[in-house]
């Protein structure tokens, strides 16, 4: 039995309104933070909570905040990354639509910690309803003095603005997101300098995911001890797992990290639609798929990394016996090729090349050297791309070649037999 935290209010029709949120303990965390903590103490508290980012990389949140300079004279900025676009991921959308105030409350606490007076929430343009709910929640928060000048009578002031994305997956990468807010094409920038030092408008900036901010609100409302008691020691707290693909009960499941992938897709997901699972993608399509034999892997950062994959956005996509791995690999590669920002050649050219080979294989025109060529391409893209987009694409593709080479071979061999027959 798990007590719901992030999804506690989801079922109620009024869950997105401030009166319902406040009635259920909402904005208590902010009141505690403003009353009992200095900015530095807020950062230390989040460090103690061992909260790790929920967007993909799993970076320790408190540590990220602590990189912001203390005594500079530049304005500081806070950004919420709500550009959720990793295929299979829909948790942030649910948070923003059902319970936007916990995200806003977390943002206010974070802004207080890093001494930001302006915050932006970057929501992808496809999420019209999220934009509507967040905007309405922001306006309610202003009305109740949680935003604006002298929040709750303190000397802390904050404005939050919504910035709407326009269909570029790459803007989920934090430096590309900042470029986009600045009014440029979404292309990643070289790090260092890291955003904490020179981010938005060259000023110190912190960027966190929607779910990360939601966790912050609860940490202050209920305390670090409560938070660290949930889940594994190195990655505590509730986590939203999005289950999709070929399993019986798709949906969002709030669970501690650390349960096995098999348990997740079988006990919660209800098992495969047809037969058994062939493979499961554990963290969005850039996370390499895990074949059936590996489903006992634990869903936390360390174990998935040891299994040569990653927890990513905890978007679990299940593939049953009917799935064609080369077709799925083609679709994933097509996606990344389409979303490549074009800045670096390994990603821009390499993924397009890989996509063409995969399409050829899928349509039965694969050539004997194609798989070797794909291996070469993966090696050339991985580790040589400017940002994680190219790396993730090559990493995911390589896993399909490693675990399901026979499926590719079958497609290529069939064609070669046909070719002989037709002569």
């Amino acid at each position: 039995m798990n007590e719901l935290v992030l999804m506690k209010n989801f079922a109620h029709p009024d869950s997105n309104y401030i009166h319902y949120y406040e009635k259920n303990g909402g904005y208590q965390g902010l009141k505690i933070a403003l009353k009992d903590f200095s900015s530095d103490q807020v950062i230390d508290y989040i460090k103690t909570s061992k909260l790790r980012g929920r967007g993909g990389a799993g970076f320790p949140t408190g540590l990220k905040w602590s990189f912001v300079p203390k005594d500079d004279h530049k304005p500081h900025y806070l950004c919420c990354n709500a550009d959720e676009g990793e295929p299979g991921t829909f948790k942030d959308r649910a948070l923003m639509e059902h319970d936007p105030h916990q995200v806003i409350e977390g943002m206010i606490i974070a802004a207080y910690a890093i001494k930001a007076r302006v915050a932006y929430i970057y929501i992808r343009g496809e999420y019209g309803l999220s934009i509507e709910k967040i905007s309405q929640a922001i306006s309610e928060a202003y009305d109740q003095s949680y935003l604006g000048k002298n929040i709750l009578g303190s000397d802390f002031s904050l404005d939050i603005y919504v910035h709407i994305g326009a269909g570029a997956y790459i803007c989920g990468e934090e430096t590309a997101l900042l470029e986009s807010i600045e009014g440029r094409r979404g292309q990643p920038k070289l790090k260092p300098p890291f955003p904490a030092v020179a981010g938005l408008y060259e000023c110190p900036t912190v960027i966190n995911n929607v779910e990360t901010f939601a966790c912050v609100a609860h940490i202050f409302a209920r305390g670090v001890d409560w938070f660290t008691a949930i889940g594994p020691e190195d990655a505590p707290g509730p986590r939203l797992f999005g289950l999709s693909g070929q399993l019986k009960n798709p949906g969002i499941y709030e669970l501690p990290m650390g349960l096995s992938l098999g348990e997740l897709v079988n006990e919660y997901g209800g098992g495969a639609l047809v037969g058994d699972f062939k493979a499961v993608i554990p963290g969005g399509v850039s996370a390499p798929m895990i074949p059936l034999a590996g489903l006992d892997v634990k869903m936390n950062f360390a174990d998935l990394a040891a299994a040569d994959s990653m927890l990513g956005s905890a978007a679990v996509i299940a593939l049953d016996e009917t799935a064609s791995i080369p077709a799925v690999a083609r679709r994933i590669t097509e996606f990344f090729s389409h979303e490549s920002c074009g800045k670096c050649a390994p990603c821009r050219e390499g993924l397009d090349w890989a996509r063409k080979i995969l399409m050829r294989i899928e349509s039965g025109d694969g050539l004997p050297g194609d798989l070797a060529q794909l291996e070469v391409l993966c090696g050339g893209i991985f580790g040589n791309s400017f940002c994680a987009l190219g790396d993730g694409a090559a990493w995911a593709l390589r896993a399909t070649l490693k675990h399901f080479r026979h499926e590719y071979d079958a497609l290529i061999t069939v064609k070669n037999i046909n070719r002989k027959g037709s002569w």
Binding site: N2, L4, M7, F10, A11, P75, E84, G85, E86, P87, G88, T89, F90, K91, R93, A94, E97, H98, G125, E126, G128, L129, Y161, H163, I164, G165, A166, G167, A168, Y169, S180, I181, E182, G183, R184, R185, G186, Y201, G242, L243, S244, G245, Q246, N249, P250, G251, I252, Y253, L255, Y268, I281, V285, A315, I317, L319, V328, R331, F335, H338, E339
Partner: protein, 182 residues
Amino acid sequence: MTIETSKQNMLKDLTEPIAEICKRYPTRRSAIMPALYLAQEKYGFIDQPMYQVISKILDVPEIWVYELASFYTLYQRKAIGKYHLQLCTNVPCMLRDAYDLVEHVQTKLGIKPGETSKNGLFTLTTVECIGSCDVAPAMMINQTYYTKLSKQKIDQILDQLSETKALPQKETLSGKKPGAVS
């Protein structure tokens, strides 16, 4: 109406709302994306005269406006149908037979992805993940989600749109399974 008069009208329409947008950012360049959205909402799509108007209002080079309009895919640079069918074909939807639905819509409407029906009612686009993976296959028509699609369900929706020229009842929130955790 000449291009010049229509630009004058646009200037009149957009100057004030764009000035409002500028208050949110320390630089005018940041206001280009929201300004493009504003123009698109008002006129249906955006093209060069609008880039020029936005560039004039914000006092930024026209190329800054054009590069965003062409980089970001949600900006429509030509007129599209009244109903923009955006079918997701990414992995979670694909695993739930989204490609069959694309095929079905193509046959039914006689248009390929990227095309608009002759009566100007429908534009078909295949899109990347729209965050409805748990209720796949899914599509959006303009800003409204339609989920757990089947050929029959699509037929109903399209027939209704063709007849009434109005969007069916909104399907709203995502993640309909709050009780999913036991």
